[in-house]
């Protein structure tokens, strides 16, 4: 006699959602791993330059930024060499932008899975959040060599790097859950996303330092959670760059809010995905 499997609890028609959202991550960790692994495997297959694209993208953006903003426009960079200043922000930014555009479509592009198999749907955007980390790591290694080249020696703040990486992932996850779930019903997300990402780039201190802005705009900028993450990472790497704790605190609060909002909305709509995707 088989016991009732806890993995398949009673499926009720009522609205009480008792999906163990967080414990599902643990229970289905292998599937999360395989989905992320699939994305990594597939990402650069049949691309001649392969994983080099993980460096090429931020590298060329950095070169353009250095030429136009660093040299021609003379944007300050807090005493850090401009290429290093912008590349250090472009590595997390490339991850963030890439994850959003992939994860935002993840439920729709995996419609065949959603309509044919049961598994916690959140694994799809989560897998993108995880798989993007590989590119992030490759970019980071390149950044490491750039720092050697520019003779920049990080201080003790370097120990905070993992904290910022985790908050970057959580932020990406929160927004991805929100976007992916909305995209199931409203395909507008697909069209709005590239545009949103483009705007977001300019309201994040990647090209310029936060101090470049007048004080009152700095407060508005702080509401962008990427601002705290980017500036926080800079503070981890460059010793003459103090940790902007105020900015970081706001960033974490906004990240937490987005994560909760994303999870709630995702949970609320999850049951209808297979019917409308």
């Amino acid at each position: 006699m088989a016991a009732i499997d806890t993995r398949l609890p009673v499926v009720r028609g009522t609205s009480s959602v008792n999906v163990e959202f967080i414990s599902d991550f643990w229970h289905y960790r292998e599937l999360l791993y395989f989905l992320a692994w699939r994305e990594v495997k597939v990402r650069y297959k049949q691309a001649a330059l392969g994983a080099a694209w993980a460096i090429i993208q931020p590298l060329f953006t950095m070169i353009i930024f250095t030429l136009f903003f660093g040299r021609l426009a003379g944007v300050p960079s807090d005493g850090i060499p401009y290429p290093l200043f912008s590349f250090c922000a472009l590595v997390p930014w490339t991850y963030f932008a890439g994850t959003l555009s992939l994860a935002g479509n993840s439920l729709v592009s995996n419609a065949n899975l959603v309509t044919k198999v049961y598994f916690p749907r959140v694994l799809l955007p989560a897998a993108t959040v995880v798989s993007g980390m590989l590119d992030f790591l490759i970019g980071s290694v390149f950044l490491f060599f750039m720092m050697i080249y520019y003779h920049v020696k990080p201080g003790w703040n370097l120990l905070f790097v993992p904290v910022f990486v985790v908050s970057l992932m959580l932020l990406a996850l929160g927004i991805s859950m929100l976007l992916a779930a909305i995209n199931v019903r409203y395909r507008d997300v697909k069209y709005a996303l590239p545009f949103i990402i483009q705007i977001w780039l300019f309201v994040t201190p990647i090209i310029y330092p936060v101090t470049f802005l007048p004080a009152k705009y700095q407060k508005v900028l702080a509401l962008n959670p990427m601002a705290g993450i980017v500036e926080g990472l800079r503070a981890c790497l460059f010793p003459n760059h103090p940790m902007p704790w105020r900015l970081v605190e706001i960033s974490w609060s906004v990240t937490a809010l987005l994560l909760i909002a994303g999870a709630l909305y995702f949970r609320k709509t999850e049951r209808t995905f297979a019917d409308i995707v």
Binding site: M1, I4, V10, G13, V117, T272, A274
Partner: protein, 439 residues
């Protein structure tokens, strides 16, 4: 025996407006502007995929679910598999569930066979070490040993199917839910599927499977549930349920199919098919056709004007779309100088319909001299061939044994107790079916 599945008052409704694929926010806004106070339109837009469905399945039962397309069978399986959620009612499922609604779910073209086995296994709920230990056996079962490190985009459709099914066959579930997997693939693949399900059955597993293959349902299942319009129409032994279900096809099959109202057809239309009928030799409508029966297929037509030198023909396909035969007056070099305007029919007499049980589809065609196409209707009618004791051996041949059989005789020299022969007259094999054309 304890229950493996308990379904209580299960109801699932779809608001049809929401089903549209590319829902745009704009449409919502537009409709809001047009009628800001008008609510969502009423009941006509609601589809009841399942309505108050209740049943229990005991452990070890093999239950076949039958019904027409759109009756709610797949929705039921999806609710049981937790893919979609019911509007009301509840479902309780015990044990490890494997649901196979599609073969090879999540296969990725760029990944190799081995990689896809891991991915697919993991999607279907296997642990990584479980896949590792079963990998060799899975690959051998699928017969793709040589291609295990080749991306599956280089695989043939058949290889892909076999690999997908091989993974599923190794799931070792307590409850297996299968949706019409048998409708795809060649006969060999289908046979493999059926054998695996038989093994599961004899291993005491609970199996729930949806099929249009009545022979498979009858052979495999201990019980059959017929679903129609989202409700359980009948629940009982496969034989009685299938019989009752088949009776509802009276209008479609057996007697005749009306083709005059079919819009989806090609051709210039000077002359068109208006109906197809299955008759016995004395001209009476046949409601049940078995393997080996003699059948007269009557094709009715309407000519809106005089047509000279037409050829009447049709093709028979299996459910999987394999062409079984294409035959026509042209193949028999029959000249029809003129068909006057008006209604009429042609008949093809088949002495021995050597098709094995299953559903076969008809595509009709009508061409003229110099091959202008007058009429062509694809898959416009079907023929359900029932089991028969074709070799008089007491062994009924079902669709697992292929598409056709031949009247035959085994000769065993010195090793058997004499030669056994089928009761078919061998002379029939030599004869070509006679064509009849009448007005």
């Amino acid at each position: 025996m304890s229950d493996a599945i308990v379904v209580e008052k299960l109801t699932k409704k779809f608001a049809l407006g929401v089903l549209q694929r590319d829902t745009m926010l704009r449409e919502r806004l537009v409709s809001l502007l047009r009628s800001p106070f008008g609510g969502r339109s009423g009941s006509e837009n609601i589809l009841w995929a399942l309505r108050d469905v209740s049943f229990r399945v005991a452990e070890g039962e093999v239950v076949g679910i039958i019904g027409r397309n759109g009756a709610g069978k797949s929705t039921l399986l999806k609710v049981l598999s937790k893919i979609t959620y019911p509007t009301s009612g509840r479902v309780r499922v015990a044990g490890r569930v494997a649901s196979l609604l599609e073969v090879g779910t999540g296969f990725h073209e760029e990944l190799t066979g081995r990689e896809n086995v891991f991915l697919n296994g993991s999607i279907l709920g296997m642990k990584k070490n479980e896949v590792e230990s079963k990998l060799d056996s899975i690959v051998a079962f699928a017969g793709v040993e040589r291609f295990v490190d080749t991306p599956i985009k280089r695989y043939s459709t058949g290889m892909r199917l076999r690999l997908g099914f091989a993974v599923a066959a190794h799931l070792d579930p307590d409850l297996l839910i299968v949706d019409e997997v048998l409708a795809v693939g060649d006969a060999g693949f289908q046979r493999k599927c059926l054998n695996t399900m038989e093994e599961l059955q004899s291993g005491g597993r609970t199996v729930l499977f949806v099929s249009h293959n009545m022979a498979a349902v009858e052979n495999l299942c201990s019980r059959c549930i017929w679903i129609d319009a989202g409700q359980v129409q009948m629940d009982g032994t496969p034989r009685e349920v299938i019989e009752a279900y088949m009776k509802t096809f009276g209008g479609f099959q057996g007697a005749a199919a009306d083709l005059s109202s079919i819009e989806n057809r090609r051709g210039s239309g000077e002359i068109r098919y208006t109906g197809i009928e299955y008759l016995n030799r004395s001209g009476e409508p046949l409601s049940v056709i078995r393997s080996g029966d003699s059948v007269v297929i009557r094709l009715r037509y309407h000519a809106s004007q005089e047509v000279s030198h037409p050829s009447f023909g049709f093709r028979i396909y299996t459910e999987m779309g394999t062409l079984v035969t294409d035959t026509s007056t042209w193949h028999h070099a029959i000249e029809i100088p003129l068909v006057p305007a008006g209604d009429g029919y042609v008949e093809l007499e088949v002495d021995l319909l050597n098709l094995l049980p299953g559903r076969y589809y008809f595509s009709l065609w009508l061409t003229g001299a110099g091959s202008p196409l007058y009429d062509n209707i694809e898959h416009c009618a079907f023929l359900e061939i029932e089991l028969a004791n074709v070799y008089s051996s007491g062994k009924a041949l079902d669709s697992r044994y292929g598409i056709v059989y031949f009247p035959q005789r085994w000769h065993l020299e010195g090793i058997g107790s004499g030669s056994r022969t089928s009761d078919q007259e061998e002379s029939q094999v030599e004869r070509t079916p006679a064509d009849g054309i009448s007005r």
